[in-house]
């Protein structure tokens, strides 16, 4: 009796954490686990706003206004001591998401065995999503660090330090995973496709589907992986599959490509056509209070008078850069009359007359009407869009241009150009097709974490910039590995360029 009583007093089930034995049992656990992987992906990209520092600041169009650390990133001086730069060279958050995916892939089959409600379709669909996310993460970190440790199981409790794996092997793994997963993924989560019938986890999910991985998401990542490897035939193949999916996405032809003003609705994640153009994105939704002060680009790019909490924004596109990107007056994104110097469209930039023009293409601030004010609380909810239809379309154009299908490239290019009020492609004005495609990518995808990777691909294609070639050869296009990681895992070796 006594020992029973003691056991009773001492066996306390905590309300703060879920123990291992209570985690992988029922279908709701699968949902929690899978959402966890998504959440960690979002967290990896949002942390320290790294998605934009990696893609839009490093040797790209955005520069720091006053901060020395941001200027260092812009100048590719990545071994400086600033805490921000040190943090960005740490890959832990990506591996947290990878570990969560590994765990899910290992443990979800247990739920499938235990819980009859967890249907094979649901199980396969969940597994495919976890695998696609894991493949995406590996692709993402290969672009940042080159060779990275390839860990595909959780190693739970028996963690061992791992060496860096050849990046081609990692990319091959990612590609295989994506190819293997596509068959289980639907185009939409509205129950209309054989891969997902009825309601997904009992929810009307189509409000949120742009936050989830779908069939064309996997294709989109594949297209980018092959482009990064320079395998443009495969890029063209998968990018084309994404383009062909258009009719299945419920994306009205009128809405696609998205014009300069509707783009904000896509980032806002409202239920509308534009949001269907998101191929891979991670939402910061306003309704379930996933909004935040940091982790979306607005925290970097906005200042007074659009929001109150910054006198000067952290990053901006210098005027010269703006003028060199948006050269054509009729562009609805941003246009300036070359003669009168009057701004003809300021949809994406405001305050061009000030020292630091403000980038407001992405401006999903918490619902103004609820906040009773004109200057809202700087609490942001824009989706982190990794890939969208226009991005994949231009990637297809890029592939076609490289593969010498110049007309094919120009058709796509013109579709986007005309949507922005620009005249059709003219080689005399816009240069070679490849150049025109990359210029268009730069204009269209500004502030969406693409520029740095586009630049590397472009320089590889052109192969005419000695300095940059040197950077590519010596590994200067990669990030240094954070010193703490090197100390903690002696098997890791610093990228040679940063030694």
């Amino acid at each position: 009796m006594l020992s029973g009583a003691c056991k009773n007093i001492l066996d306390v089930t905590p309300t703060r954490v879920v123990g291992e034995e209570n985690m992988w049992n029922v279908m709701e656990d699968a949902r929690a686990g899978l959402i966890g992987v998504y959440g960690l992906c979002r967290s990896a990209l949002a942390d320290n706003n790294r998605f934009w520092y990696y893609g839009d600041v490093r040797m790209a169009d955005f520069d720091g206004t006053t901060r020395e650390d941001i200027k260092s990133i812009h100048n590719n001086e990545l071994n400086v001591q600033y805490p921000l730069v040190q943090d960005l060279s740490d890959w832990r958050r990506f591996y947290a998401a990878i570990n969560a995916a590994n765990l899910f892939i290992e443990r979800a089959p247990e739920i499938f065995k235990k819980d009859p409600r967890y249907t094979e379709q649901n199980f396969n669909l969940d597994m495919a999503q976890a695998r696609v996310l894991r493949a995406f993460l590996y692709f993402y970190i290969v672009r940042l660090w080159g060779d990275v440790p390839l860990i595909t199981t959780s190693h739970d409790g028996e963690f061992a330090n791992k060496k860096r794996e050849d990046q081609q092997k990692v990319l091959a793994f990612a590609a295989n995973e994506l190819i293997a997963s596509v068959q289980y993924l639907p185009y939409r989560f509205n129950g209309a496709f054989p891969e997902q019938t009825g309601q997904y986890y009992g929810r009307n999910i189509d409000n949120w589907e742009s936050d989830l991985v779908r069939k064309h998401t996997a294709w989109g990542i594949l297209a980018h992986i092959y482009a990064w490897q320079g395998n443009y035939a495969e890029t063209a193949r998968y990018a084309q599959l994404v383009m062909d999916a258009e009719s299945n996405l419920g994306l009205a032809t009128a809405a696609f490509p998205i014009n300069g003003s509707n783009i904000r609705r896509m980032f806002r994640g409202e239920v509308n056509d534009e949001v269907k153009a998101v191929v891979l994105g991670f939402g910061h939704r306003w309704r379930p209070a996933e909004t935040s002060f940091t982790g979306t680009i607005e925290g970097l790019t906005l200042a007074q008078p659009l929001v109150n909490n910054r006198l000067i924004q952290a990053i901006y596109v210098p005027k010269d850069t703006i003028l060199s990107i948006y050269k054509e007056a009729k562009d609805d994104r941003f246009g300036i009359d070359t003669l009168t110097k009057n701004v003809t469209s300021d949809l994406w930039f405001t305050g061009f007359d000030r020292p630091y023009p403000m980038f407001k293409k992405i401006f999903a601030v918490a619902d103004v009407s609820v906040q009773n004010t004109n200057v809202p609380i700087a609490y942001f909810s824009s989706t982190t869009v990794v890939n969208r239809m226009e991005d994949i379309a231009l990637l297809l154009a890029e592939a076609k241009a490289v593969l010498n299908d110049r007309p094919g490239a120009i058709v796509i290019l013109n579709k986007i150009r005309t949507k922005h009020g620009l005249p059709v492609y003219n080689p005399l004005v816009n240069g070679e097709a490849v150049d025109a495609v990359f210029s268009e990518r730069r204009r269209e995808l500004l502030g969406e974490g693409h520029r740095w990777y586009d630049l590397v691909r472009y320089k590889k294609i052109k192969n005419n910039d000695l300095e940059f070639n040197d950077l590519i050869q010596s590994g200067g296009i990669y990030w240094p590995i954070n010193r703490n990681l090197l100390i903690q895992n002696p098997l890791l070796i610093q990228n040679t360029y940063w030694q």
Partner: protein
């Protein structure tokens, strides 16, 4: 339900034993007290006090509380006993304060570690909750202060109601209190009922004076910065000159710097306490009431405390005693107005490029915004017990039921004028509750005249519950509705918009079951040997390792009684020794679960995003760290030897204690596993040792016949902290800015050695091997960069060139007091000192590192109003290139490390005992005591430290500039009993 079993079982056992025992004669074992002999009118009734191991220890010496207008127990105890170190990181009344007995047994990285290293406070046998549970830090972005009222619970103790305080430093003393006592015990005994009808009245009134400060304005700051701009700035950097300093005609920053008029004020402190006792030998009581008001000298801070106590003793029959005791307090705290703390709670970072104005007209205007603000901090504490003792001959049963309960609430509303146009509100309510049942059976067995054995068996259960509800929200617009984020009836959002309200509920439970047995053997009057064995199970340990068995043995040899009976010089001489093991309590319930899942997918600056796509997800605790299975108990292993001596009829008394205490197999979060997503993994195997000596000497300097008496007493603790081992047999582990290295102390700074400045590029050393310049992790050093010492000679400055130096906690600390008395007048001087302590002057580093701190616009960019206060000497630092990417003014270099030893005259007092005078003067007067006194507190501090008061640092050893000054206070007081 199960509790009933226990009680029932015990009572059953009791009655069966009763039948066997004959004449009731034994009496409760009294605690020895040095301060006061029990007066005949005192009836010691029921003794809830657990007898500590009676040997191996100096018979416990009571600490006499000084005449200090203390607002908390911590403050009252500071500098009163060897081996007790009290850290007072702020002079703000009622804030958290921390104590360490004989150093810390774990490295202190966070506020949570600090709570884990705190001693147990026992009040009349109740192991009280003395700290709010640190689990609330889990939902906070910064741990500067805990959400809720964050009031020091030990400020709730009515100090006038305290009869004595004892410090249980040795394992043989504290082991009876179980795993919670593994950091030592501070035992507080309150005043009990007496048969004599008496009314007592204690009161003091005083004035606290702010110390004069030197202020400066924008012109000084501008001049300070110009040096850097003139020497190093590029055109672009010139253009980014701090906006607030650009216009020298701007009176906001260039006007008079007279903000101190609004910030520092003379403040009143007072205490009134009254108590009444009365009753008979069969039943008596004490009732007390007290009010303490403690105003801070800075920032309009204040603590109001109301305390009430009731003690009832009964002896209905000869063999039974019963005591009921309740002590309750209510504290209302008015807090500081630091921008950092306000913003840290709100998380919303406003534009921080404009600091507060040093001009009182403007600063004072800003303060009027606080008139619209609400900040109600209420804390209630209640400690009580019911104790019943049954004595049947040599057998004595004791049954103790104790409760320690505290709750705290904070209603906060910051109006729109304080944070751009955004109103912030938060509501907190939390409680902590401990229920204790403790049953003991005591049996004295006298073998013959020379040999006696006392047996004690006991069993106890503790139920701890901690819980809080917390919500915060933002709103734009008006200040019409201030608090109440949620409607009371349906807990739905009221006026604040639903999507900008964030709610947190948390609860944690920790239960403990213990069994213990103890035997004291006594031979003649000169030898005692004791042994204790206990088994403890706590719910916060994993089921496979739930129980821990702790043995303690101790012995004491009274040499005086044995060998030196006739010696005239030696009045008393005793040798003691003890050895023991005691399991350490674990505060956190996470470790009991092994691998686990939590909601943890926030990111830097936004740690608490609960959902993705509107759905809650669960992940491993990647940020907190991996927790595996087979986590063992950590435990203390202590060995000690001590002498007590008394010479020349007690004119010289001394106690010397040598100890070596090791906390073994402690869990440490070891950084690593980044490729598995974790920040760290919790692993057992950290052993930390504290070895040292406590010395207490008391001497009467003048002969006994002399009318003037002069007593000096010196207390000193020398403590050497050593890290003995690390998990996985590692020799060193880097954790953040700190290095734990086996063989060194856990409280050391890990810093670069600074040797000046490179005034030209060609002064930078060149590696002859590859012609590469000395660099900082790849960035070449240039003119204007610091000359850091390349310790390992590899021409790269990195963590390998950092050295462990200094100590965050004092190596030697203690007190020195003088009491001079003549007839009824007494004069006292109490000094307090710390030696071998260092401070890293972070505030100075911050002032120099203005470029990085201001541009980042994060929590470190905040400048408080005290920014405009001259502290330290800026002239003694080299002028580095503040824009350099090697961060020349990083705090982690010995440039900012200073010796912070100090000697402080804490109290000078003059007292006059008027009892006789009054009784003589008024015939009808029947006064027991009438004592008046006056004191000056915090009279002066001697220190080589160039910054502020060297006490104003927190556990990290960094002087951040935060913490309100500890004021000099003048008081007059009276203690009377009628």
């Amino acid at each position: 339900m199960r509790i009933v079993y226990f009680l029932g079982l015990f009572l059953l056992m009791g009655s069966s034993v009763r039948a066997q025992v004959s004449p009731p004669s034994s009496k409760p074992k009294p605690q020895k007290k040095i301060t006061q002999k029990p007066k005949p009118d005192t009836v010691i009734v029921s003794m809830p006090v657990k007898p500590v191991l009676s040997t191996g220890v100096k018979d416990l010496q009571s600490i006499s509380l000084p005449l200090f207008p203390a607002s908390s127990l911590n403050q009252a105890l500071k500098g009163t006993a060897a081996g007790l170190y009290v850290q007072e990181q702020s002079g703000e009344p009622g804030v958290y304060q921390y104590m360490h007995i004989r150093g810390t047994l774990l490295p202190l990285f966070s506020a949570e570690d600090l709570v884990r290293s705190q001693p147990l406070i026992v009040i009349d046998g109740i192991p009280v909750i003395s700290n709010e549970h640190p689990f609330a830090y889990d939902v906070q972005l910064y741990d500067y202060s805990r959400i809720g009222p964050s009031t020091n619970l030990l400020a709730g103790i009515d100090l006038d109601n305290v009869e004595s305080v004892q410090l249980l430093k040795d394992i043989s003393q504290y082991a009876v209190y179980g795993p919670k006592a593994a950091n030592g015990v501070i035992y507080v005994k309150t005043k009990t009922g007496k048969t004599k009808k008496a009314i007592s009245f204690d009161s003091y009134f005083g004035i606290a004076n702010p110390a004069p400060v030197t202020t400066f304005n924008g012109a000084t700051e501008n001049k300070f910065r110009e040096q850097f701009y003139n020497r190093y700035a590029s055109m672009a950097q010139m253009q980014n000159y701090a906006a607030f300093l650009k216009d020298s005609l701007n009176t906001v920053y260039y006007g008079p710097s007279n903000w101190t008029d609004s910030y520092y004020k003379k403040a009143a402190v007072y205490s009134i306490n009254a108590s009444a006792t009365g009753g008979t030998e069969r039943a008596n009581f004490k009732f007390s009431l007290g009010k303490v008001g403690n105003n801070g000298v800075a920032d309009d801070t204040r603590l109001d405390k109301y305390a009430v106590g009731f003690n009832l003793n009964m002896k209905p029959v000869k063999w039974m005693t019963a005591t009921a005791n309740i002590m309750a307090s209510r504290m209302d705290r008015k807090r500081n107005r630091y921008s950092r703390d306000r913003i840290a709670e709100g998380r919303y970072l406003p534009d921080l490029s404009q600091p507060l104005s040093p001009n009182n007209d403007i600063y004072g205007g800003m303060l009027t915004a606080y008139k619209e603000a609400v900040d109600d901090n209420l804390t209630n504490t209640l400690n009580g017990y019911f104790n019943m003792g049954l004595t049947f001959g040599k057998v004595r049963f004791n049954s103790f039921l104790g409760v320690s309960y505290t709750d705290g609430s904070r209603d906060l509303y910051n109006p729109t004028t304080l944070l751009e146009t955004i109103a912030f509100a938060s509501n907190y309510f939390g409680y902590s509750q401990r229920l204790v049942i403790d049953n003991t059976i005591n049996y004295s067995y006298k073998i013959n005249d020379n040999n006696t054995i006392d047996f004690l068996g006991g069993q106890s259960i503790n139920w701890d519950t901690y819980r809080y509800n917390y919500a915060y929200g933002y709103r734009n617009g008006t200040d019409y509705i201030k608090v109440n984020l949620l409607n009371k009836d349906d807990l739905q959002p009221s006026i604040f918009t639903r999507r900008l309200i964030f709610r947190f509920l948390d609860k944690t439970v920790n239960n403990q079951v213990s069994f213990y047995g103890k035997a004291d053997y006594k031979y003649k009057n000169w030898l005692t040997v004791s042994g204790l064995l206990r088994a403890d199970g706590i719910s916060n340990m994993q089921p496979t390792n739930r129980w821990f068995y702790s043995p303690v043995v101790s012995a004491s040899w009274n040499i005086k009684n044995h060998l030196l009976i006739k010696n005239k010089t030696v009045t008393d001489l005793k040798l003691r020794g003890s050895f023991g093991i005691l399991g350490r309590n674990e505060l956190n319930d996470r470790y009991a679960q092994g691998p686990q899942y939590v909601v943890d997918f926030g990111w830097s600056g936004e740690p608490l995003v609960p959902s993705y796509a509107g759905t809650v997800g669960l992940v491993r605790p990647y940020t907190k760290g991996y927790i595996g299975y087979d986590i063992p108990w950590s435990y203390n292993e202590q060995i000690s030897v001590g002498f007590d001596f008394s010479l020349w009829k007690g004119r010289l008394n001394g106690i010397i204690d040598l100890y070596a205490n090791t906390a073994k197999d402690q869990l440490l979060g070891v950084p690593g596993l980044a490729e598995y997503g974790y920040t760290k993994a919790y692993k057992p195997g950290m052993d930390v040792n504290n070895s040292g000596v406590d010395l207490t000497l008391t001497a009467d300097l003048l002969p006994a016949r002399n009318k003037v008496k002069w007593t000096i007493s010196l207390g000193a603790n020398y403590n050497r902290n050593t890290l003995r081992s690390l998990p996985d047999g590692r020799k060193s582990i880097i954790i953040g800015n700190r290095l734990l290295q086996v063989g060194n102390s856990v409280d050391q700074f890990w810093l670069l050695e600074n040797n000046g400045i490179y005034s030209a590029d060609n002064e930078v050393e060149i590696n002859p091997a590859n012609q590469r310049k000395l660099n900082y992790e790849g960035v070449d050093l240039k003119a204007g960069d610091p000359r850091w010492k390349d310790l390992n000679g590899d021409f790269t400055i990195n963590e390998k060139d950092k050295k462990l130096m200094g100590h965050m906690m004092p190596v030697v600390s203690g007190n020195f007091s003088n009491t001079i008395s003549y007839k009824k007048i007494s004069l006292g001087f109490d000094f307090y000192y710390n030696l071998g302590k260092n401070i890293l002057n972070k505030e100075m580093a911050n002032r120099f590192d203005f470029i990085n701190r201001e541009s980042s616009n994060d929590i470190n960019s905040i400048k408080e109003i005290t920014f405009w206060q001259e502290q330290g000497n800026v002239k003694k630092y080299p002028l580095y290139n503040v824009w350099s990417s090697v961060i020349p003014y990083r705090a982690e270099q010995d440039l900012f490390l200073e010796n912070a030893s100090f000697l402080k005259l804490r109290t000078a007092s003059l007292g006059y005992d008027m009892t006789q005078l009054i009784n003589r003067s008024f015939k009808k007067a029947d006064v027991n005591r009438f004592f008046i006194y006056t004191t000056v507190n915090n009279v002066f501090t001697l220190t080589p430290y160039s910054g502020r008061d060297p006490e104003l640092v927190d556990y990290t050893g960094y002087d951040t500039g935060y913490g309100l000054p500890i004021p000099r206070t003048y008081t007059v007081g009276v203690k009377m009993s009628l």
